[in-house]
């Protein structure tokens, strides 16, 4: 009797914890998983297609789906400085260090975040630039601050102006009730590294499922060679650049010699 009761409790608990059998599945496909930077790279655009696979077609009638796609670039450290007027001159007065924050951040959704879910959910699911974690070094602590923090606001504004951070509340387009697409702009000055692409499927303000994939942005061929040489073979690289200058000057004086 006791054992049977225990079994019943376990089954109920398992049913409660496991996703319901009728849950939707999210299938996401990116136009590429590798962005190659070569000599004529000026930026590119990734296209993301998504499909919501329904176990039970009737479910659709009850739910309106929302999709949020967040792309987080490689983590870098940044110093944000604030200028102040000292003796009539604008100089860098205060500074804050942002530690291991995404150097690229793009959030797009099918409608404004505030309409999709409540603030608490947005914060927990890191939806929107405000709710993505941008850790700062404050004294000995490393922590994120409130979205209204002036340094955070300043940092985000500069990153947005450079095209590194973006929010597009109408960036996700539903092609049908279960198919959507969005584009992710990768600017020419985008940092190299791994870009994590997270797609959230939301219904009635609650998370249904999520799917993550990644894109690699890498320098290719000559560009990769130069960058690697500048980093690993510093002396040889410097000497080679100096030699290049000598030869260019020599060549010019031979070509343009008039006497």
């Amino acid at each position: 009797m006791i054992r049977r009761g225990l079994l019943f409790v376990i089954i109920v608990a398992a049913l409660a914890l496991a996703p319901p059998a009728t849950a939707e599945r999210l299938i996401v496909s990116l136009s590429t998983h590798r962005v190659l930077i070569n000599s004529n790279f000026t930026g590119t655009e990734l296209v993301l297609f998504g499909a919501i696979e329904l176990a039970d077609p009737d479910i659709l009638d009850r739910r309106g789906y929302d999709v949020v796609v967040t792309v987080r670039g490689p983590q870098r450290n940044f110093i944000t400085r604030r200028k102040a007027q000292v003796l009539g001159i604008w100089i860098n007065a205060e500074s804050r260090e942002f530690v291991e924050v995404p150097a690229y951040l793009a959030v797009s959704s099918n409608r404004p975040f505030a309409e999709i879910a409540e603030t608490e959910f947005l914060r927990r699911s890191r939806i929107g630039i405000d709710y993505n974690i941008l850790t700062q070094r404050i004294g000995t602590d490393i922590a994120d601050v409130v979205p209204q923090d002036p340094f955070r606001v300043g940092f985000v504004r500069v990153m947005r102006a450079e095209g590194m951070f973006s929010e597009t509340p109408n960036g996700v387009t539903f092609l049908s009730s279960t198919h959507f697409r969005t584009t992710v702009p990768i600017p020419g000055s985008a940092p190299t590294g791994t870009y994590e692409v997270e797609t959230l499927l939301i219904a009635n303000g609650a998370l249904v499922t999520r799917e993550t994939t990644a894109v690699e942005v890498v320098k290719q061929g000559f560009e990769a060679l130069v960058a690697q040489a500048a980093r690993d073979q510093r002396l040889a690289y410097g000497l080679l650049t100096a030699l290049l200058a000598l030869l260019t000057g020599l060549f010019a004086s031979l070509v343009f010699r008039r006497d």
Binding site: T241, L246, S253
Partner: protein, 324 residues
């Protein structure tokens, strides 16, 4: 000058032929960079100066990060002065002895400049130091050149003979020990002020990305009383060597030399320099100096105005390990 953040470069929407800079990590318009090389090369050839004082701020305006601009311009200056040095060498207008003494100070100055550059960059005050140096340096040199050239032009209008060399006048440093005779320059002077001038030129060249010719030539002519043509020839040699050293040191110490940017500038520079040299020979010396003075002053004032006007955004962002 004043912004350390990467500004949006001449974006892809405007660029027809763009080229990706692997160290600056951004695409730039190939024709803009070539054009800059040609324009500055023209000025360089016309006045016999490197033109770094123009190139560095112009590059920063096109969106190249200051750290990359300052470190990449020296190799461009070296290429420009290489062809100049060769042509002055052929005419025997390079004073090797004077050049070597200048270099002894110049090498130390360059190393010190690269080191201070790194310290200031880490402290976040590089852009301020560069801007202030520009204002002070260009202001002083520009004003001195302006007064001198206006006087020379007025003298020429009154029909008086040009006074280039005033033998017999003695400045305070003529009393210093370690006197050396520089035959080609026809001067007999202590090695100490010569080394000091070399140091200053090397230091500023590495620190703020200027070739130093615009300071060295007036210093040699007016302080050391070296004949103008020998002053230019010797200055070219010094600018060549200090900039080669600066290139190597920046590559080793700061890792911000962009070879693709440098080479594009070099190509434009050597072409522009040829036309500049021809244009320069068609003009009178004092008019040339007046033009250069106005140019130097204009750049100084432009940088100064930037320092005192309220920035569009008081915040700036720089990646601390972009060049990892």
């Amino acid at each position: 000058m004043r912004r350390l953040e990467r500004r949006r470069p001449f974006g892809p929407e405007r660029a027809h032929v763009s080229i990706y800079l692997p160290i600056a990590e951004l695409p730039v318009n190939l024709f803009v960079i070539l054009g800059l090389g040609i324009a500055v090369g023209f000025i360089s050839g016309m006045f016999g100066v490197g033109g770094g004082f123009l190139m560095t701020p112009l590059l920063i305006l096109t969106g190249v990060p200051p750290a990359v601009a300052v470190a990449s311009v020296p190799s461009n200056m070296a290429a420009n002065s290489m062809s100049g040095t060769i042509s002055y060498w052929r005419k025997r207008l390079v004073d090797i002895a004077l050049g070597l003494v200048l270099l002894s100070g110049g090498v130390v100055g360059t190393a010190a400049g690269v080191w201070v550059f790194g310290v200031l960059r880490r402290a976040g005050q590089l852009d301020l130091a560069v801007s202030l140096s520009y204002v002070v340096l260009l202001g002083i040199v520009g004003s001195l050149m302006l007064t001198e050239s206006v006087r020379a032009i007025l003298r020429a209008q009154r029909g008086e003979p040009p006074v280039v060399r005033r033998p017999g006048t003695h400045a305070w440093f003529h009393g210093l020990p370690l006197k050396l005779r520089f035959r080609q320059s026809r001067i007999y002077v202590s090695a100490m002020p010569v080394t000091a001038i070399g140091f200053a030129v090397g230091f500023l060249g590495a620190l703020i990305g200027v070739g130093g010719g615009f300071m060295l030539i007036p210093a040699l002519i007016y302080l050391m009383r070296v004949p103008t043509t020998v002053a230019i020839g010797t200055s070219l040699l010094l600018v060549l060597v200090t900039n080669l050293i600066a290139t190597v040191l920046h590559a080793v110490e700061n890792r911000t030399v962009d070879a693709v940017l440098a080479f594009t500038l070099m190509i434009g520079g050597v072409v522009g320099a040829q036309f500049g040299a021809r244009a320069g020979q068609a003009m009178r010396a004092e008019q040339l100096r007046l033009l250069l003075a106005l140019l130097v002053l204009a750049v100084g004032v432009r940088v100064g105005v930037d320092l005192i006007t309220r920035p569009a955004d008081p915040f700036s962002v720089v990646a601390t390990e972009t060049f990892q």
